[in-house]
Subunit: 410 residues, 4 copies
């Protein structure tokens, strides 16, 4: 597979990034707070990306498996939103960055953990998955995360046991959540599934598909399975944007600008919404617990490929390719192109009102919006067109739409 990938220009940039980052970034320490994690090989480094069309590109040690650790928090949060609904989940865990480290004791004035990306909040999130036992809870989580990845994930039992053995602080956090009424289960029935979800094994390509599912509005682009709803996807991405990179989340949004989540196993997932998901793996961590090479690689990719949330595309040229008037049939054909968003819709509005919107317009006729070269129409633009229709009818004009590709129905 690697040979083939090299030939693909989309993969090549990842190879370049790995080459560059491996040379430049040597800092970081492999996590050792539990002995099993300390065994990771610090030299391994892999990247994979999967687009919303379902194609994956990979480079480096992208087939190496490692445990998800905190990366699981983002996806289990999505599952909990699916099970309980956003209001009930918000009753139990907040959405504010805590400004503190991941294992901080950080509860808000309502007794909620600050957010689901700190351990206290993740334990609550896990406890919200409805189940009658710890085993059932974990099995539901395993299946849900497998749906994100598009294959059956399995835990590394020795890592799980190590986490459980050294898990008193997490049990304490769960007890605190229990004492404020926010834990949805007993302490052990939250903590044990949580330790096991953290121990689920993935490779970089798995992570990229999980991320691509979020990039693709909750639909796994490889299996086409609807894993979560579009709303849940949006909420999950919002939290990854504000809280995903521990207490470096602000800096991450500032510099890299992609919703992301890291784990102390060395993995990071990052999402380019509507485009693709990325999975990176390299065990050495910075002080905040983020993979040093992973952070560097994503910074380079964001910079080179313009992936920052606020590095939007250059302003498009006018959505109106041309306006064809036919005096005989009293029709005006407005040929449109590309994405009709608010700005395009507003331009269209002004053009149309120039033709038909003023009361001085003595004569009436038909305006045809030709959408053949249009790729999508935003909700706000649809509203503008609908209101525009009402407006021009007062002056005796009619709006018709030519939509051979069916973009309005999408």
């Amino acid at each position: 597979m690697r040979d083939h990938s090299v030939r693909n220009p989309a993969s090549r940039s990842f190879f370049d990034v790995i080459h560059q980052v491996r040379a430049e970034v040597t800092a970081g320490e492999v996590a050792d707070y539990i002995p099993e994690l300390g065994k990771a090989n610090p030299d391994r480094f892999g990247i994979a990306a999967t687009s919303v069309t379902g194609r994956s590109y990979a480079a480096g040690d992208s087939a190496d498996r490692f445990t998800m650790q905190s990366i699981s928090k983002a996806f289990v949060y999505a599952l909990a939103l699916g099970e309980r609904g956003v209001d009930e989940v918000l009753d139990h865990v907040g959405v504010e960055p805590s400004g503190e480290t991941f294992n901080a004791i950080s509860f808000d004035e309502l007794g909620r953990p600050d957010n689901p990306m700190v351990n206290a909040g993740a334990l609550v999130t896990t406890s919200l998955i409805r189940a009658s036992s710890a085993e059932e809870r974990f099995e539901k989580i395993r299946q849900g995360l497998s749906a994100f990845a598009g294959r059956e994930l399995e835990p590394d039992d020795s890592v799980y046991e190590s986490e459980s053995e050294h898990g008193d602080r997490n049990r304490a956090l769960a007890s605190l959540a229990k004492s404020t009424g926010k834990l949805g289960s007993s302490v052990d029935e939250a903590a044990e599934p949580y330790f096991r979800q953290c121990a689920l094994l993935v490779d970089s390509t798995d992570l990229s598909i999980m991320a691509a599912t979020l990039a693709n509005d909750g639909v796994n682009p490889v299996t086409s399975q609807v894993v979560v709803s579009e709303d849940i996807t949006r909420y999950t991405l919002s939290l990854m944007a504000s809280c995903g990179m521990y207490d470096r989340s602000g800096q991450w949004l500032f510099e890299v600008g992609m919703p992301a989540k890291s784990g102390v196993g060395g993995g990071i997932v990052a999402v380019a919404p509507g485009e693709f998901g990325i999975g990176v793996f390299s065990p050495p961590l910075d002080e905040a617990g983020n993979s040093t090479r992973g952070v560097a690689a994503l910074r380079v990719l964001s910079e080179e490929h313009g992936l920052h949330l606020f590095r939007h595309l250059d302003r498009p040229v006018s959505p109106v390719t041309r306006i064809q008037m036919d005096p005989r049939s009293r029709t005006v054909r407005v040929v449109l192109r590309g994405v009709i968003d608010f700005v395009a819709g507003e331009m269209l509005l002004h053009e149309t009102l120039k033709i038909a919107g003023t009361e001085e317009a003595e004569e009436s006729g038909t305006i045809i919006f030709d959408l053949e070269a249009v790729t999508s129409v935003a909700e706000v633009a649809t509203t503008l067109i609908r209101d525009l229709d009402i407006e021009v009818r007062r002056n005796g004009w009619t709006i018709e739409v030519y939509d051979p590709s069916g973009v309005l129905e999408a």
Copy 2:
């Protein structure tokens, strides 16, 4: 102007929002920490939006003037980035949400205020504007913010004096920043210009134009003045996304999903990047210091118009309208449309490689990418096409581009 606006469908939605929110939202208290602010009329409520094309829409008390207060922080941060560069600014003030209230004493382990949206950080930001006196510093800030707004802004002197009189806590924050070596001036030469920038008077339309300047990559869409660079715009929006709404910033990103900044004068600015800026004004505040009606109005607008950062447009239809083969001239015309982003580029890649990318391709020829109906081409897609060109040349094929609108040069 208002009569005219009612007829405009783009304005009408704002009237509807004002009507709905005024009926539903009655909570909140007018700020009274300084006496002058307490005089505001709690019933006033205005909204304005300005698109990146420079057109403004307004509703309600959109011509009421009020003081910017903390809204100024975001724009002065942009000015400071312009003066000092991002590295020097980052040396002095961080970019992490603090999880605390706006006037918290919140410094990181490097002695930096946590971010420029808390008072401590804003005072540092102001101090970084190079000037030889408090007056000169304020004058530079006033001119910079006026450039964002597209008109000469002036302070309310009585509010300024009231702020200064009750400003000991802010002076303390400036002294702390001074003691950690992060203040770029004396305490008073930071505090006094800061108090005055907070007292600058704006109306909702001013705010919408300031926001639209950020939506438009730093170019004021009304005056066409380049106020700040695209990079600075991106950084500023990032901070508004992570820290703009005090200690409700996480919830804001979760629910509303627009970079924004509020002030205790009752104003809020919000940005739909690439599309438009919004200014809202209503004096009653919630506990976090955000205008209750302003928050509600922006929540409704975000929901109705799909403005959430992660509510991206539905996946576009294929960027390839049709492929025309001409066996005689051995040309293949690939007619494209809309935005060519990573995903579109990737689709294109695969289509092209089907034609010319395999080594089994016995014959060679020319592939013409017809960009007439294309509105923009992302950087990442340009890279893909460039790499694709290298790849197909190995098999004797050539790629040509037909770009009558010049979208590749944009």
Copy 3:
């Protein structure tokens, strides 16, 4: 018993205090964080004092029984010091006031709870009592506290069960201590005995005897049982002085100046070292969790009876009653009285050196210290006298001691 007490002048002052405080202090709320405590009658109010001679005085509802709650912390700390020694206990729990509320999550940089008077520290203290089960641990604690009280104490099982049922926060604190390696047992084997020790029933007289045991260097003055050593008593009193009254401990030391410990059951113990112990009971609590009437009563007693630690007795008159010289036998009889502390010893030193300490003293002889009217001799004074002996011997003088009461051997 009450009638009899009224006749005793020592009791009468307690009646007066109850009368005065009941009239003046009506604030406070009965603890209701567990339902069982909420059932307490807010009108009940009792005081008892027991002197180091073993006599008790009581007034008001001094026979009402209530649960010890946090008062147990001080005495179990004393027991833990006895079992483990001060160094081992200090390895597990600190001795610094936390400046926070009693159930705060307050650990120092060594992972120790800040002190044994906050819940986290008390749980650690309990865990340090060596036992092979929760039951055995509680039984040892029960016996130890019974030794302090001089009678068999028994828990209120319904309060215990209520505490255990609402005990998740305390279990969380124990888990945190476990995670930092400071808990001496499993979480449950610390928490359950802790809940039960808090539920031990006492009346005000019991508390006064427990306090009197601390006042009497660890010897129960009623039963004469040696409960803890003098060193342990000193350590325990030190902690009660610095941390005994929750986050009002500083104010308490400032105003009342007695080592004390309060419990949310409404009880307070206070110690006048070397003199007597006081127990007070009245259920309504202030915001810090201290009995409002209890605090007021002890403030009045401290003020009226001069019990503040730093309101020492007026400087005694000279310890030297008279000096009798007998030229014939070349003896000097120095008749002393009262307490011979450092200052008295120093006065004695100077008097003696005037007689025998200078090299010019031509003749030698014997100095007799007559201790018949002396009540005690401090260690430092003994040292001074010993050194003085060495000094005067150089000049040929001898020191003899007449000590009919044996105060030097005490």
Copy 4:
């Protein structure tokens, strides 16, 4: 002077302590937060003690001069109490240990600095000294502290200037106190006198006399000047006991058990109430800012001389030397001795009631309390005797007192 001292047994123990501690304690770093302090010679080490009789004992480099630094806080607090009264001072600064470092930003819910021993509180304390200028304020402080020391103290101007130059954090703390309404002057009129009071030069003997003034109820035992009242002395000692040794205050009370205050200049004052004051000087500091050798020396002295607050003297023998009955004159002479405190008073009460307190007592007479060998009578005992008098009169008995030394009038 040193030679002479060696001969004095009271001094000799200090020499021994210096010798022992110098050999054992080598840790610590000279303060360098301002350059001037960094010049101190780390080898210097002096101790002095002054008893309430006014005699001083000194050893080592006890004549070396150094700046008081934070030691001044305790004495200026006493002066402020004298100027403003305890209630007004308590309105401005609290009395709770903060659990934080000396320069922490530590204000309570009333806006008061936590206590006068942290910098924020000390600045408030200084600001409460009434004056119309910074100079006048400092001059009053200088005179007050000179009265404690018994000689004219003068500041080290170069240290003062260095403190002022690096004083932004302290100015910030003063501004915060100003913003909460707790500063009694402008920021500079508090900060500058504070910097100067910290720069006052003292030697170990000066400190011992200042401490002895507190040991002696506010009366300088050398000059006999009444510097502050007994009440103020008590309050000041209370704060030194709870907050005097920075964030090691709890440990200090636990181990050493003397009210004390340290300064980063290397000095420590400690008080044995009613007995003597100690001054120690050695520049190297531990992490909390306390002189390492100073702490060690006071720990040794406390241990060897039994100076811990709760290491009270052994329980005195009975205060009743003998009871002489004279049937003819119907008088009972009760010969007392030593200190008549509560316990002695209570013993007396019981003896007396055995004679005259029961209603069955058929005959009446006179009880004479012979106080010739009594050195002091506590307030509480006086009350008991007064009440006893009322009680026995009911049975026809009279109490008379023989008090040749006038201890009852003291």
